[in-house]
Symmetry: C2
Subunit: 174 residues, 2 copies
């Protein structure tokens, strides 16, 4: 499947509602449990997504458009939410994510990006030259893989409860 801006928006627009329908109002045993040391709970993931909206995706897109390959992206802090989410409820985070995501998409749409702009390049700190369309596709994939992660992490909480059925769920043995 080739990159298309419209098909990317289809996913990026929906993620706040997906997370809300999955997580809003359920017990903390589902939302605050993780997969072990250094792993993310669903609550952590929502904070991580907020951090990306505030510091990563729009900043990198702006840097490509304004500075091209003359500047290198700031490395992404994948653990910033452990501090930033402190004291906030999951409901607050879900609201916050919806707001920052909607603001970012409104900004992105206002740019009316041309094919030439979408092919313009920036410098990633790990692997060098990347195109704007690759950055935007990664934003989409990042959403989808974190939705997948949340489903997996929640499923794992019932690993003991399903008894012999564990053998049918490869995903629980990761």
């Amino acid at each position: 499947m080739d990159f298309e801006l419209d098909k990317s928006y289809e996913i990026l627009r929906r993620t706040p509602a997906v997370l809300r329908s999955l997580l809003s109002g359920i017990s903390e045993e589902w939302t605050m449990s993780n997969e072990g040391p250094d792993s993310f709970s669903p609550y952590d993931v929502v904070g991580h997504l907020i951090h990306g909206e505030k510091t990563d995706w729009p900043d990198r897109a702006r840097m490509i458009l304004q500075h091209g390959i003359t500047q290198t992206f700031v490395p992404y802090d994948r653990f910033a939410m452990f501090e930033e989410s402190k004291g906030k409820t999951l409901g607050t985070l879900l609201d916050e994510f919806e707001i920052v995501r909607n603001n970012n998409l409104a900004w992105l749409e206002s740019l009316n990006l041309s094919p030439v702009e979408l092919a313009s390049k920036g410098i990633h700190p790990s692997f060098g030259e990347v195109r704007l369309d690759q950055l935007l596709a990664t934003w989409v994939v990042h959403d989808l893989t974190h939705i997948a992660q949340i489903g997996r992490v929640m499923a794992k909480q019932y690993k003991g409860a399903i008894g012999p059925w564990t053998e049918f769920f490869r995903i629980l043995n990761f």
Copy 2:
């Protein structure tokens, strides 16, 4: 996390809305693409979940309650939806899933299952004795792992579009 009926309902009740918010109205390239031969597209997964509601979860629960270990569950046909979904739109399947799921949950709640009933046993065709609470926990895990699967399958469609970022997404290399 131990099995609790209320915490199981929290997930089972939400899945139709989660799938609707994730899949309703998006392009067929997202919903009809799979991971290769013999794998499921998001469209296939919704049909598979409907089949489970119609023939698997409630029938097995009923069999445990009525016949205990004197009858063996009918093996689950994991590919039935390839026939049953034919000619139906994804929108139709999402509607259908919501209806059959809601009906099954209304039935299950009407039973007011006691702890003794939840511990009652049936016979699984592959691994023998299983408890009703294990069956219900598996229903929950089945939902969550299929949500995870849908996120993963959709993410994979953009594998080529993200360029060098593939190295950061372990999930795309499954």
